[in-house]
């Protein structure tokens, strides 16, 4: 069973009278397996947030459909085990941190001592224990992001949808969040996150998909993607100098050339840019 599955998922936004439509997402077939961390990458406006909103039924697909744990997304039940952190989250400014979590907890049907305990845990988890009685109007961007994360986790969901979870958070906070995601993964949770901070994604994602102008242009296992198929690196331990010469000779004898001896990996960033360069569809195709 996939945590998330979409089939031919398409979204055209209505831009209003006589302004036509904007194709934000085109025939997306996405599969997020249970237990993995999936990174949805892409430049601004490529349809990352749209995908998440479609999965949460916040916007209605123009075509195609989506499922969460095999439940159609149009059903309320599908959101029972989902936690969502929107991009640049805003909450009720007049509520305190603790009140905010209480509100979302109650919406999830939690109450009483269980809820109280959970709120304490989560405030501690995201490091907002000291700011718990302050109104969100006075929270910084990073603090809002943290309370957003806590809110998404309140009912201990099996699946987390995080839209740019580290945006606006300082490097240390960002590291904390990434550690948290890894720990959630360790607990068997599934995470779908969107980002354009590639270096960060590289460390935590099992698989990534790259969206550009609403189309998936690249998808796969991170480790496979970032290894260069034409090149092969053999990592050898304790190879004597003489043996090395013989290996090199043997390689040359096959007609192959030795480019370097070192780390053959490319960075995810380079891969990302390359993928964009190859995707040479023109602007007009969008309308």
């Amino acid at each position: 069973m996939d945590a998330i599955r979409t089939e031919q998922l398409t979204k055209k936004y209505d831009l209003g009278w006589r302004k036509g439509k904007l194709l934000a997402l085109e025939k997306l077939n996405l599969r997020v397996r249970e237990g993995e961390v999936y990174g949805l990458l892409g430049p601004n406006g490529s349809g990352k947030s749209t995908t998440l909103k479609l999965v949460l039924d916040l916007v209605v697909p123009t075509e195609g459909s989506a499922w969460i744990f095999d439940v159609p997304c149009s059903k309320v039940v599908s959101r029972l085990h989902v936690g969502f952190l929107p991009e640049n989250p805003y909450f009720y400014r007049y509520l305190t941190g603790a009140e905010t979590l209480e509100f979302y907890g109650k919406l999830c049907g939690m109450r009483g001592a269980t809820l109280k305990k959970r709120i304490e845990e989560l405030l501690d988890l995201v490091g907002l224990t000291r700011a718990r009685h302050r109104r969100l109007a006075g929270y910084s961007k990073g603090m809002l992001q943290r309370i957003g994360l806590a809110q998404a986790l309140i009912h201990d969901p099996k699946l987390l949808l995080l839209d740019e979870p580290t945006a606006g958070v300082d490097p240390i906070g960002s590291k904390d969040i990434r550690d948290l995601i890894l720990r959630l993964k360790g607990m068997g949770k599934t995470v779908l996150l969107s980002s354009h901070l590639l270096a960060q994604v590289q460390d935590i994602c099992d698989r990534i998909g790259v969206l550009n102008r609403g189309q998936m242009i690249l998808e796969g296992d991170v480790q496979t993607l970032i290894s260069d198929q034409r090149r092969l690196s053999i990592t050898v331990q304790d190879l004597p100098e003489a043996a090395r010469a013989r290996v090199e000779e043997a390689v040359r004898a096959t007609g192959a050339s030795i480019v370097s001896v070192g780390h053959p990996q490319t960075t995810l960033e380079a891969l990302f840019l390359e993928a964009l360069r190859k995707d040479q569809r023109r602007e007009g195709e969008h309308d």
């Binding site: 209505d14 909103k53 209605v60 009720y92 509520l95 919406l107 269980t114 988890l125 009912h155 720990r183």
Partner: protein
């Protein structure tokens, strides 16, 4: 960050039915928002107006003063509840969308209808609360007036015969019954029904428009047309087609009974019951219509 923090109890129900609890959570939250904003300064000002009335009308006879105070207070209450119903409801949905708070709520297992109803109920709670606040002020003004009257009356009877004192006592009793007129409750009930209806109209408008001005102006116009419907019916009653078009608008004139009650006329509870039935029926339909629009809406 402790390990146990993440291992929280998981929800096991695999069915999400309509939940009145979620509606109430959203309603209370909506009320909290309104209360923590600056609405209550408005009430303070209204309170001052009320109290000024008691002083302002002092030169008139008791009967005149009572009529003036009751007319004005009920008028003020009616206007303010209508305003709160419109302005308080108009920004509920747009501000949720604008602040994107709606994303996090609807991403939870919350039905859109629950959300809509919760917002609406929150608006009604605010109406009730503000009405209660104004009624308390109203009652206070009446009480101050009553005490003043009684004091004046007893002073004018000092040193009179026992028979005159009996007379004075009767007059005091009459003042007390007139001041503490339970009939006024009927006017407030009708008022609340009217405010609920206009709030639902505003809710409906705000499900398809995000412009605050539009969301305020349109319900206000519906109110005006609804107010004039009765007059229109009397004047051009014969014109069928015209009346047919007007039938969409609730007849808000039917809710005006405060004047009659202040005139000491009989307004049977049956009549109030019919008014409330009418208001509630209209409101229900409009809320359902609002749901139809909102459930398909992109946010």
């Amino acid at each position: 960050m402790t390990e146990s923090a993440i291992a929280a109890p998981s929800m096991s129900r695999e069915r999400v039915g309509f939940s009145a609890h979620r509606v109430s959570v959203i309603a209370v939250n909506t009320l909290t928002e309104a209360v923590r904003q600056k609405v209550f300064i408005l009430f303070l000002l209204i309170g001052l107006v009320f109290i000024a009335l008691a002083v302002f009308f002092a030169q008139f006879t008791f009967g005149e003063q009572m009529k003036f105070i009751k007319d004005t207070c009920l008028g003020v209450i009616s206007v303010i509840t209508t305003l709160i119903a419109i302005v308080g409801t108009a920004q509920l949905l747009p501000s949720e969308v604008e602040n994107r708070t709606i994303y996090t709520i609807l991403a939870k297992p919350v039905r859109r209808f629950e959300f809509l109803l919760g917002k609406f109920c929150g608006s009604l709670l605010l109406l009730l609360l503000s009405m209660a606040a104004m009624c308390i002020l109203f009652a206070a003004v009446l009480w101050i007036k009553e005490q003043g009257m009684i004091r004046e009356l007893s002073q004018s009877y000092v040193g009179e015969s026992p028979a005159a004192h009996v007379e004075a006592q009767k007059q005091i009793e009459q003042i007390q019954t007139e001041v503490l007129d339970v009939e006024l409750v009927k006017a407030l009930v009708a008022d609340l029904a009217k405010a609920t209806l206009i709030a639902s109209v505003t809710l409906l408008v705000s499900t398809f428009s995000t412009s605050l001005v539009f969301n305020v102006v349109v319900p206000f116009m519906v109110y005006v047309v609804g107010m004039l419907r009765g007059t229109a019916a009397e004047m051009w009653g014969a014109h069928r087609l015209f009346m047919a078009v007007l039938a969409v608008f609730p007849d808000f004139g039917l809710f005006s009974i405060a004047d009659e009650i202040n005139l000491g006329k009989v307004v049977p509870w049956g009549h109030i019951g019919q008014i409330v039935t009418y208001g509630v029926a209209r409101t229900l339909v409009i809320v359902v219509a609002a749901h139809l629009v909102f459930s398909r809406r992109e946010i």
